[in-house]
Symmetry: D2
Subunit: 205 residues, 4 copies
C-alpha cells in the first residue's frame, strides 16, 4: 500500500511551515505502507497541478495533505472542502483570488474520503488533542483539499484522501502573545497515528 | 549551589498536575547546581507550612515553585504575589477562603526574587514560548508564592525565589475544546532553562 | 417585497436564544419591504418542515434565518451549508444525529444566496463587527440553512436566502468567564442593516 | 457626596478611548452624589500629577479611574495596583519605562479601596458581564491606579477609590478579528451601577 503525504512551503511571512517540517520527519514506512512525501507550493492552481502530477505518477492508495492552521490549538481533521477560493492574503506568487470557483465542473463541495471520526478518536485516545473541523477555510489549504477530492471523484474512485490542519510550532508564536502552538514531536506523532488509522481502514475494505 | 524546585499535586478534578510531572523529570544537576525536588499539597496554609519546613531543612540558595495555570498557552514567569487568598474552588481539603490575608505582618505584595526578564528572554530565544505574568491569581499558587517571598523577606535575605506557571498538558485538554496545552518535553526543557538562568545569575552576584 | 426572518427557540440549557429575541424586535418594514417573522424549533427535521410550510404559505422574496453561535464575538454571515447533521448535543426533542445526510437528493453543499460580502462590508462600515463565516457547523443551524437552500435550489429559483449567526447576549455569559457577547441593540441594528442590503440588492436585479 | 470619575485619552494608535467616551456620558448626579468628570493624559507621571491636582482641588469622597483593557470581554474591577511601570509600548509622549518604581516610599502594592466584590455581583445580577481582575497590568492604567491609592493611603485616609477596566468598543475591533468588544451603552450602564454601589457603600459607613 502506498500513502502520499504532502506539506506546504512557508507562507504569510513565516520562516517555516510546520506541515512540511512534520511530513519530512515521518517514517518511510507506517503500518506497513510506503510513505511518499512531497512539498506543495503555497500557490493557487500551481499547488493542484503539482498534486495532480504526483497522483498520476505515483497512483497512491491514500493521499493526505497537511497544512498549517495558525490559531488552532489542536490537530484538525477536515470534513469538507468547498469550491471557492477567497484569499485574505496573496499566495506565494502574489495572487489573491476573490470568490473564485476552483473547478467549473466540480461539485459545490466534497466530503473527505478518510475515516475522520476514527482518526480523531484514536488521536484523542492517545492523548494528542484533535478535533473534526468543518472548514478548511478558503485559502490554498481548502483549494488543495478541493483539488484532491475533485481528482479522487473524477479519476481515482478507489483512492482515499483528505486534509489535516496542524497548529503553529512553538518557535512561530514567540512574538504572537495569544497564539497557541503544538510541538513538532507531537504533530509528527499525531500524523503517524492518522496515517495508521487510514491504512488500517483502507486494508479492511 | 542548591536549588529547590517544587510542584503541586493535582487539583480541580484533574488526574495529573503538569507541575509535579515536570519537576520529577528535571535532572538532579543543572548548571552545576544540585536540584532538590518536592511535591506540595494543593491546600491553603498546609502548602506554606510544608515549604517552610523544606526551606529550614535544606537552606536552598534558590527556590522555584511551579504550578499549573490552565488556560495559559505559554510558560509564565510570575512578577508578584499578593497578600490575599480568594478561592474560586475549594482546595484539596475542601477549604475555600474568601479574601483572606495570608500573613498579617506581611506586605501587601512581594516582587519575585528572580531575574524574570532574563528567564523569559532566554526561553523565547530558545523557541519556548514564555512571558512575564503580572498575576499568579488568588488560589494556592499565589498563596505559596507569597509564602515563599514572605519567608525570603523575613528570614532568608540572600535566597533567590519565585514562581513559574505552566500550561495544561495535552492529555488534560482532550475534552476541553478551546484550551491550549504544552507538551511535557517542552515544559521540562523550559524549566531547565529557567533554572540555568537563575543559577548563573545567582553565581554572578 | 417580502422578507422572511426566522429565529430559533432556546437550546443547550440556555433560557433565551438571541436569534428569536432579535428577530422579534425588528421593525415590520425595513427598506420598504414587509418583514415576516417566525420562530423555528431547535429540532432536526421539524425545523425544516416548519420552514417549508412558511415558504409555501408566504412565498417570500428573501429568507434570512438567524441563529445563536455561542463563542463567536461578531455577526457571522454564513457562506455555505453542508449536507450533513452531526450533533454535539441532542436537539430540543432529544435527537442527536451522527453524520446524517439531510436530503438524499441534495448537493453536498449549497452556497448562500445572499450578497454576503456586501452585508459584511456595510456592517463593518457602520461599526458593527461582522465577518464572513465558512462554516455554520453541523447542528440545527446548518441543518436549517441547508434545508432553506435546498428548497431555494429545487423550488424557488428566484428567492434569495441565507443564514446569519449572532453571538450570545450579555446575560448569557455572566457565568461563562471567557465567552464574548454582543448587546441585543447592536444585534438588532446589525440584522436590520443586513436586511436592508439584501433588499436593495434584490431590487437592483 | 462627591464622586470623581476619570477616563483616559486614546493611546496605542486608537482613535478613541472607551473610558473617556463612557465617562463623558455619565449623568451628573448618580445615587444622589455629584459626579465630577476628568480626562487624564495617557502619559506616565503626568497622569498622576494631573490626578493629584484634581484630588486637591475637589476633595472627592470617592475616586474611580476608568481605563481601556483591549482584549478583555467584560468589565473588570481591579483588586490591586503594583509599584512598577513597564511599558510594552511608549506612552503618548513617547516615554517607555522598564521596571520602574512609581513611588520610592510607596508599598509594593495597594489594594483597591472599593467594594469590588459587591460591584461585580451587582453588575452580574443586572446582566452586565463583570469580573474581579487581579492585575491592572504595568502600563499607565496600573500607574494611575497606584498613584491614586498611594495618595489615598498617604493623604486622604477617608477617600474611597479604585480602578475599572472596560473592553474595546465595537468600532475599535472592526479590523481586529478575534477581539471582543462591549457596546458603549452597556459600559455606561455598568459604570453607573458601579458608582451607585460605591456611593451606597460609602454612605453606609
Amino acid at each position: 500500500m502506498k500513502v502520499l503525504v504532502t506539506g506546504f512551503e512557508p507562507f504569510g511571512g513565516e520562516r517555516v511551515n510546520p506541515s512540511i517540517e512534520a511530513v519530512k520527519r515521518l517514517s518511510d514506512k507506517i503500518a506497513g505502507a510506503d510513505i511518499i512525501k512531497a512539498e506543495i507550493p503555497t500557490v493557487f492552481n500551481k499547488s493542484i497541478r503539482k498534486l495532480e502530477k504526483i497522483l498520476e505518477d505515483e497512483k497512491p492508495d491514500i493521499t493526505i495533505c497537511v497544512g498549517q492552521a495558525g490559531g488552532r490549538n489542536r490537530i484538525s481533521v477536515e470534513r469538507v472542502a468547498i469550491n471557492i477560493s477567497d484569499g485574505r492574503i496573496p499566495d506565494n506568487e502574489g495572487y489573491q483570488p476573490v470568490d473564485e470557483i476552483i473547478f467549473e465542473d466540480g461539485d459545490t463541495a466534497y466530503f473527505a474520503r478518510l475515516p475522520i471520526k476514527k482518526i480523531v478518536k484514536e488521536l484523542n485516545d492517545r492523548n494528542i488533542p484533535a478535533e473534526v473541523s468543518n472548514t478548511a477555510g478558503t485559502y490554498v489549504c481548502n483549494h488543495l483539499m478541493y483539488g484532491l477530492l475533485y481528482n479522487i471523484n473524477k479519476k481515482y474512485p478507489n483512492m482515499m484522501g483528505g486534509f489535516i490542519h496542524i497548529p503553529f510550532l512553538p518557535e512561530q508564536v514567540i512574538d504572537k502573545p495569544n497564539m497557541p502552538c503544538m510541538s513538532l514531536d507531537l504533530i509528527v506523532e499525531g500524523l503517524t497515528i492518522a496515517i495508521e488509522v487510514a491504512v488500517n481502514s483502507g486494508q479492511s475494505k
